[in-house]
Subunit: 412 residues, 2 copies
Amino acid sequence: MTQLVKNQALKAKQASFELASLKSQVKDDALNRAADLLEKQSKGILKENEKDLANAKGLTKTALDRLRLDEKRIESMVVALREIATLTDPIGEVVDGWVRPNGIKVSKIRVPLGVIGIVYENRPNVTSDAAGLCLKSSNAALLRGSSSAQNSNLAIVKVLRQALEETGVNPDAITLIEDTSYEAVKEMLGLKGIIDCVIPRGGPSLVSTVIENAKVPVIIDGDGNCHTYVDQSADIEMALKIVKNAKMQRPSVCNATETLVVHKKIAKKFLPLIQKELKGVEFVGDKVAQKLMPGIAQATPQDWATEFLDLKLAVKVVDSLDDAIEHIRKYSTGHSEAIITKDLISAQRFINEVDAAAVLVNASTRLVDGSELGLGAEIGISTQKLHARGPMGLRELTSVKFVIEGNGQIRT
Amino acid sequence: MTQLVKNQALKAKQASFELASLKSQVKDDALNRAADLLEKQSKGILKENEKDLANAKGLTKTALDRLRLDEKRIESMVVALREIATLTDPIGEVVDGWVRPNGIKVSKIRVPLGVIGIVYENRPNVTSDAAGLCLKSSNAALLRGSSSAQNSNLAIVKVLRQALEETGVNPDAITLIEDTSYEAVKEMLGLKGIIDCVIPRGGPSLVSTVIENAKVPVIIDGDGNCHTYVDQSADIEMALKIVKNAKMQRPSVCNATETLVVHKKIAKKFLPLIQKELKGVEFVGDKVAQKLMPGIAQATPQDWATEFLDLKLAVKVVDSLDDAIEHIRKYSTGHSEAIITKDLISAQRFINEVDAAAVLVNASTRLVDGSELGLGAEIGISTQKLHARGPMGLRELTSVKFVIEGNGQIRT
């Protein structure tokens, strides 16, 4: 059983060697061909997806929705692949270069990582999105979706591999792990020297399985327990608009705000207004917030640490910017943290002292996203500090290589 | 016992928050003050080092040599700290920046990692070198040396912390783990959210302990099973000079060449010459090499995979560049790989197809080193592909942060 995973990974590794020198044009042709074929063969894919939906038992409504494909969702996958084809190829970029006094020429060149393992849940669209980004960055994609979506994933990968074959690319560059057991994930996570990086795309339990078991390098696309801090000098209208957007525009995603931190000097005015503005939101708060927002429940210590992913907002009133920063340090998952302020010193201190992938001044945490920030397609948002931090585009799927060219230089 | 490690790490974390906004001038003052104090208090440090040497039992001669301090070695530590003070501060560097159509200003700013754990063996000089690099990059250094060097390390850290105090820096920015047990290392490796990165500096067993147990991100300063390939078109004189240097100039280090790969068309001429040139080197080889180099033993499969770190060289004769690349792929640890050739196509293929931190054309693998490449002081040579690859200077001890500045922007 496990040997099967390793064998598939070894084939992907072989493909990755070939990908490293593949011309951009060939990669783009393959991406566009994959888009064409997905469009043409959408009916077949939808049929396989129906099987998955019919088999789905015990899945929540949200999970079922994520599992479901339709013509529109397939069209989004098609558009994504075509967009990836238009992006600049990161491979071969000369990141830096110089000549040493002894005449050796040193360059740092952007190269692929090699084999990237993607472990994900339900959503079959991740199959083609992730494969597309890996292909464009000359990495082999070793995909391990959930068993619930396996029929859909197999159908999509079959189409993608057909596109690779038709354009002269080793089809093992896109490989779906056939074994959907939990053991297969653990096996993947131990394939040191074969898999160069694993990126989990899913909930906290998947992420923690990956952290606990990985012997291979990982990039964590972690939780977003995001805060918006309304400073005493904040523009009230702006704060209302931003907090509403950060909480309500799409509450189920990682860059939605989960806790509102408010300076006590503005709380009396601001909190009743926000309670009125955020219709349909359930508030929980500390004692001061409870006094100012009639009828709200007391926030438990657990609430401060919870990514609600729902129309629920915790409210904390603080005595100072220092207290706000301290609260955020204690509960932040290092994703996105915002301050609303008119005070320059407060803004500067917040930027410098809050440790997160993104810090925002007078803007909604919802803006922390590859496309909103202009990075092109993203494979996730890294909440770790090594290698990639924040929205990850094609460059974050690469490494560098020192190229040292001489004419006989030795060390003296 | 383990709570002690965590408590020390938490103090380092607190210090790391303060370091993040510390002015460059203050860091440089602290580094220079530390250098002065090390010089002044060298006698006391040497006395503590004598205790370690007296306690040392069962250490190899090499290990004893690494453990030993003298005035000259302390002077090297002093010089290193002063040099680090002269390097450009990487923190605050604007790595990238742009404005989005909706007016938000996006910048990527270089920030510290936070708390860097360094796990090392014997050499007490690592204590001050690593602490200096961490301080300059605004990271708290959480040092865990070996028990054999603990008296020396405590004495050095006491001096470094005195320098921090005298210059107004939180002394916990340089913290030596008091617990020198194996359990303390495992405890460190599990401190997710407190330690931001662990860098092991030591042999394969330390590195594998770190990989097996780390729940925190790691940067692996791994083995160097380096190859030099002599292509059929190589300049024989140049090849002799480079291979001699790569093997003999300092055989005990990671960038020394361990296997010589030779094209069959040049082997007959080259191998007898190299056997004569590398006096004192023990050769092992495949059958073809054995025929051409009288008296050498047959290389075992294990030999191809071994980093000898000694005056020993394995010799492999190949039929083609493809075979050379295949052999290197099979046995390379991804450190440094060299080709000696006059053929442009061979050079290009070697550069593109060999996957290592550094690939060299017509130069000695011994040149892969921070100071030789002009990167300034180095904390190690990364053999992983994520985050840092090759010689690691100050920049490799940093992360980035997205700073997003608006005036009320929301997501629509």
